[in-house]
Symmetry: C2
Subunit: 479 residues, 2 copies
């Protein structure tokens, strides 16, 4: 943390949520704008959160048999064009490399917007027999999609993500994989990021370019807008046929495998900010926090205070991620505000009186509560407190979401909710793309998903055309 | 591992070292050629080695106070041009992005060949006071340098690496950082990759474009050619002045900080292959091996064999990285060859007779030795064996290097050695760039470094011009 700055002012989130978000991102030094329009710099505090997210997901990917791999950054134009829907979806937003050094290239290369095409071109070279299946591969990398309007973490022309790409012998296995990975996305998002998710299938209009079906997890932000937070695609045989990927099956027949792809990105950090943050800044769930405890010595010039604080840091570091703020430029109060803004889950205060009483003060970031705990039981007490903060954040986020989830039975109700009390809206939908389009045009809301957990809304009439509907959907305006 | 292939033939390394290298890379499935000329796919086995290398370095970087960060992939042409030597060095080998989607960009953007320029542009925005220094940042990413002639891992148009970029208050601190990082590079290369390194300074001709001084670690490959394996640059104030990075110093003066950068890349994997590999394929040092032990059941159709093998896997997995090859398509002998080719340090054989005798057979990859060990002491025995393999590989590589290290006192000797018994050549050099150029033209060898450990070669005459020389250098042909 820069020591030469004053505690920064953060815009009130209820007054201007967009500005509040920008303030939090910039002033906590999670990210910054770069000299390249639409590209951001992820600063150490933001990157450390990303590393913790990566670690959590990567472990689960490996637990479930996936291996990491790395494919080239650049994709020849002719490869991108092989799957018709895919190129139509992505061509308008790719960056093109036309020159290498001083020479013009014979064929343009695009910077990967996603890697289905380049990976399929290799899979078709490698795969021979059913015995080699499934292919369970993943890569952590950067992708570029040329965006007109960008915001740090939420939508940037370059972002970091992982993209899993698997091949399977049967359609059933591919479908099981697609849902398994969505399940893992949700598990880590809820358990580590403390963000409750609605999971379901995307409408055809909203699915990935080239997918048979796209599944998604959707979160609700503090301002009532939805954030698509991770998607898992059943690609069927769209790409494996276009790329002529074949294998000799169990009966000796030549077959095309079934294919999935799935991704989560640095966008999750944007979700983290907008779900848990408050008017004092960021609130980071303990399991993902780069710093779980910040020690702030009180009256640190007094004899023994700093020594005791350093001893404590050494002790706590065995179990927790700990920092100490021993700068002598600022008052404890100033430091309190700074670290609160950074969203560190626990502030530990230790001063002469605490030392005398063999205790410290623990202040939790998520609630306005302080407790004194004995140095004898400090490890257990902190562990319990971190667990409580983690689960409280999830419950609080769930409560917020539930309070902002509504039911609309017709367009008037829908329009009114989206306009006046934005949030998730549960409605019936007939399945017609025209209704979907009309809803979007009239309200700005889109179908976030057809949730796995269908509910009885007391009507079977489409919110838009009143036609017979069997599916309930979640609607919202979205990032 | 693909089960439908025969054990692959690998070209004899003494007959055709280049073909041997390609065979090892492709047939062990470490990497493959991609549809984009000069770009490779790093397959799971190669990538798992990279992950282990990353983990080892990343830990040391963090131990020494560095934080990870992420800067944009693309750099505006105007930024690349700010440091004169730098742009001259890199412009001929960068890839240019000219279009975003369907629109032509106002300014060309290059894909980062290295990130000094984009990072300095942000450092100049961020830095204010001496109190914020040092900046100790690192990023793990991909870079692109348009290469005409490429080989997997050794020289590819895209490669994965880390690039550290630090700022310091004083020249002394920057120099200490430059050397500290070179020391860490060497430490991990020697302790984990078991590759002995010569460390020293690059000549002005060979230094990084824009550096005040470049330091390097150089390894000797099996064919007597050198591999530059990691470099650490003291950049002085070259970039900080060009980018107008300033801070208010302790006395209130406005100053330019001192700057370093340092990198190691996936090239290290090429070194690993060419230092330890043999005619049976790869040999991977235990500390870096994705699989340390492969269990091969003998007569696996007999009752109890597979069960015992699975139990053993479960037991050993607590301490080691273990795989089991239980495929029923191939004979144990065929499996032995396959895993030998993959370079797995220990093969563990277990059959009915072993089970009866409460033992297993351990075969080490690096030497042609098998031992039977009791199941009662198997964890300790394997741990000792892995340690012995690790240190034996280092000693063997060191012996190989020392045997291929020569002294040349004049051009005839030098030419003769490089031509007939290639290796490192220690010679005196007057320091003149003309001599350096002449050596290169006449012998193909370059000055690898001016080593920190200077030796008395019994002469003070330059190997080229016989002029007075105070510096001993290492010469070699290099990758």
């Amino acid at each position: 943390m820069a020591n030469n700055q004053k505690v920064q002012e953060i815009t009130n989130m209820d007054k201007d949520f967009a500005q509040w978000y920008t303030d939090v991102v910039l002033k906590t030094e999670m990210a910054d704008y770069s000299p390249v329009r639409g590209f951001m710099v992820i600063r150490p505090y933001g990157y450390a959160i990303w590393e913790n997210i990566q670690k959590a997901y990567d472990k689960r990917f490996k637990d479930t048999g996936h291996k990491n791999i790395y494919f080239p950054l650049l994709i020849p134009e002719s490869l991108l064009e092989k799957e018709a829907e895919h190129v139509e979806g992505f061509a308008p937003e790719v960056a093109w490399v036309t020159h290498g050094g001083h020479e013009k290239l014979e064929e343009r290369l695009c910077i990967r917007p996603t890697s289905e095409t380049i990976m399929c071109s290799m899979y078709s070279k490698w795969l021979r027999s059913w015995r080699e299946l499934p292919y369970l591969y993943n890569q952590w990398n950067n992708v570029v999609r040329w965006e007109k309007s960008t915001r740090p973490f939420l939508r940037t022309s370059e972002f970091l993500w992982q993209e899993g790409h698997t091949l399977h012998e049967t359609a059933e296995e591919a479908q099981a994989e697609t849902l398994q990975m969505l399940g893992i996305y949700r598990e880590i998002a809820e358990e580590f990021l403390a963000i409750p998710m609605v999971v379901g299938r995307k409408s055809d209009k909203e699915k990935f370019a080239g997918a048979a079906a796209t599944y998604t997890m959707e979160a609700l932000m503090h301002d009532g807008k939805a954030l698509q937070s991770g998607t898992s695609h059943n690609l069927g045989q769209h790409f494996t046929k276009a790329f002529d990927i074949t294998f000799t099956g169990r009966t000796g027949e030549i077959e095309n495998p079934y294919h999935t792809s799935w991704g989560v990105s640095t966008r999750l950090i944007g979700g983290l900010i907008m779900v848990h943050g408050d008017n004092n800044g960021l609130v980071v769930p303990p399991k993902i926090a780069p710093t779980q405890i910040v020690i702030i010595p009180i009256a640190q010039h007094k004899e023994g205070v700093l020594d005791k604080a350093y001893d404590l840091k050494k002790e706590l570091e065995k179990n927790f991620r700990v920092e100490i703020d021993d700068s002598d430029e600022y008052s404890p109060g100033w430091k309190f505000n700074q670290w609160e803004m950074k969203g560190v889950p626990i502030r530990l205060e230790i001063g002469p009186r605490d030392i005398k009483n063999n205790q410290v003060v623990l202040a939790r970031r998520d609630k306005n509560e302080k407790v004194s705990v004995s140095l004898d039981t400090i490890n257990e007490d902190i562990e319990k407190l971190l667990e409580d903060i983690q689960s409280s954040l999830f419950e609080k986020a769930k409560k917020m979401r539930d309070e902002k989830t509504y039911v609309a039975k017709n367009m008037d109700e829908l329009e009114n909710i989206i306009k006046n009390t934005p949030g998730f809206v549960k409605s019936m939908w007939c399945g017609d793309a025209e209704c979907e389009q009309k809803i979007k045009e009239q309200t700005g809301a889109t179908i976030r998903c057809i949730p796995f957990e269908q509910e009885d809304l007391g009507t079977e009439e489409c919110v838009c055309c009143s036609g017979k509907s069997e599916k309930m959907v979640y609607l919202a305006r979205a990032y």
